[in-house]
């Protein structure tokens, strides 16, 4: 019953690139590539929003869609570890996400009170990135040898302010900011919730590990279509777009942003 041939292997077929539909900025990026860059490489690209990350990865692996830009390497390796039947490759880093510490009540990290409530995202990779951020802000320290992409609360070495952690979903976290002392979250969800950027009280540049990658199905890496797709996303016009377009500015950062 499986589709006999993937669009990836069919010349001239439309290549679907999916992201999590909740991310308007990623959608804007894919649409930019589809409209402005893809024609240069002789392919036709289309955006598709899928809310569930598992579904996206499964579809990429099986060639139902051509690729996705929603994940970084760390996340992908987790996915592959958990689903040995998935065959996916991170082809090229495309952008970084705007990610920072937010607070409705305090204007600097130092003001966070003892026993304060801190929200992290509930998925493991973003939880890890949140912990890394807290470490950067000097609020906690992590055990030796903890890699930034896999940290869990168990990896916390010291927590001098006795912060309490609450795991929340993306959209729920920005809605709950008034009920929190601090939250580690993506810029996009805060701007969308009409929370002023001033409430982002700490936002260093993320390590390379957290760059958003164009991910493709390993089985299709050698097809003409996919080669062209990878080249399109690697085109400098993409970085230029990220640096200048108001739709994505501050939310998706160019890969070399500091």
């Amino acid at each position: 019953l499986n589709p006999p041939t993937s669009a990836n292997a069919t010349e001239g077929a439309t290549l679907v690139v999916a992201t999590a539909e909740g991310n308007a900025a990623e959608q804007a990026l894919v649409n930019f590539v589809a409209e402005e860059v893809a024609p240069k490489y002789g392919i036709s690209v289309e955006f598709k929003g899928l809310a569930d990350s598992n579904t996206i990865n499964r579809a990429v692996s099986e060639g139902e869609i051509a690729g996705t830009v929603y994940q970084h390497k760390l996340w992908l390796s987790q996915v592959l570890e958990a689903n040995p039947d998935f065959k996916e490759t991170a082809a090229v880093p495309v952008f970084r996400w705007g990610f920072g510490l937010w607070s409705d009540k305090y204007t600097s990290v130092d003001q966070i009170p003892d026993g304060g409530t801190v929200s992290l995202y509930s998925d493991p990779a973003n939880e890890a990135q949140g912990l890394w951020l807290l470490k950067e802000a000097g609020l906690i320290t992590l055990k030796d040898g903890t890699t930034p992409g896999t940290a869990t609360q168990d990896d916390i070495a010291t927590n001098p302010k006795n912060l309490k952690f609450t795991l929340l979903d993306f959209a729920a976290q920005s809605r709950a900011l008034p009920d929190l002392d601090l939250a580690a979250g993506y810029t996009e969800y805060y701007l969308a919730a009409n929370i002023p950027i001033e409430q982002q009280i700490f936002a260093p540049a993320a390590p390379d590990d957290f760059a958003g990658q164009l991910t493709i199905g390993s089985d299709f890496a050698d097809t003409e279509n996919i080669k062209n797709l990878v080249a399109a996303f690697a085109d400098p016009a993409v970085q230029e777009f990220l640096a200048t377009d108001p739709t994505v500015k501050g939310i998706l950062l160019p890969i070399d942003a500091k």
């Binding site: 909740g22 899928l50 809310a51 139902e64 969800y189 969308a192 108001p246």
Partner: protein, 243 residues
């Protein structure tokens, strides 16, 4: 930085919302068709395997009841994930409306089985005796004495179930099935786009209220004493206006 630019412009909302509504109607329509076709026999079976039923069989009843409970236990996202191979086997894909229909139908069937079971429990036992005395086969008893007499209550339950499925379709949207509920969640909830949120809410409320209205009317139409009762005043009013 312009946040507005991310939001859907008002004039594009119909183009976003109406196809989504159509998707929802198709999805829920197909699902409910399957749910009714499978849930009614299944509900009748569970009811009649229970103590006092036509084929009273406690071990089998317990087994079947557990299976139905499993269908009702899993959070819908998990159910969708657990049956991925099955969904692909049936529909050949794991995304889109076709793929959403399978887990929705499973959840819906489990739900409706309980609704049917509960409705059948309300049928006076005498009617089953009458059917038996009249020489009815078990299938005929189920059809004429149980399902037919419980019909208004089953339709009432079907209404409840259909509306629950509209809600499920919002979750099923995560696997690319789209639908109005999904637009509400991704645009309204995740993108904080209040215009879309409002538009989808209005459409959802109108859809649900229409389903409820149709359901209520069907219940009335299938209940003889409600039907005859309801007709009288309407005509009387007409008569008055003629005078």
């Amino acid at each position: 930085m312009s946040i507005r630019s991310l939001n859907v412009p008002i004039d594009q909302i119909p183009a976003l919302v109406f196809p989504a509504l159509l998707d929802t109607l198709i999805m829920v329509g197909i699902v409910m068709l399957i749910v009714v076709l499978v849930g009614i026999p299944l509900g009748a079976l569970v009811h009649n395997l229970a103590p006092g039923g036509l084929f009273e069989n406690p071990p089998l009843h317990t087994t079947l009841s557990w299976i139905v409970s499993i269908g009702r236990s899993l959070p819908f996202l998990i159910l969708m994930a657990s049956i991925v191979p099955f969904t692909r086997f049936i529909t050949g894909t794991n995304i889109g409306i076709a793929a959403a229909v399978v887990p929705m139908a499973i959840a819906g069937i489990a739900f409706f089985t309980r609704i049917v079971e509960n409705s059948l429990r309300g049928v006076p036992p005498t009617l089953v005796r009458v059917a038996k005395a009249s020489g009815a086969s078990p299938l005929q008893i189920i059809r004429t004495a149980q399902l037919s007499e419980a019909l208004p209550s089953i339709i009432g339950g079907l209404t409840i179930n259909t509306i629950a499925m509209i809600e499920y379709s919002a979750i099923a949207g995560t696997i690319g099935a789209g639908g109005i509920g999904y637009v509400a969640v991704t645009y309204g909830y995740q993108r904080f786009d209040n215009t879309v949120m409002l538009a989808t809410i209005v459409i959802l409320v109108a859809t649900v209220a229409s389903v409820q209205l149709i359901g209520d009317r069907l219940v009335r139409l299938t209940t003889p004493h409600a039907r005859t009762q309801a007709r009288a005043p309407r005509v009387r009013r007409r008569e008055t206006s003629l005078v």
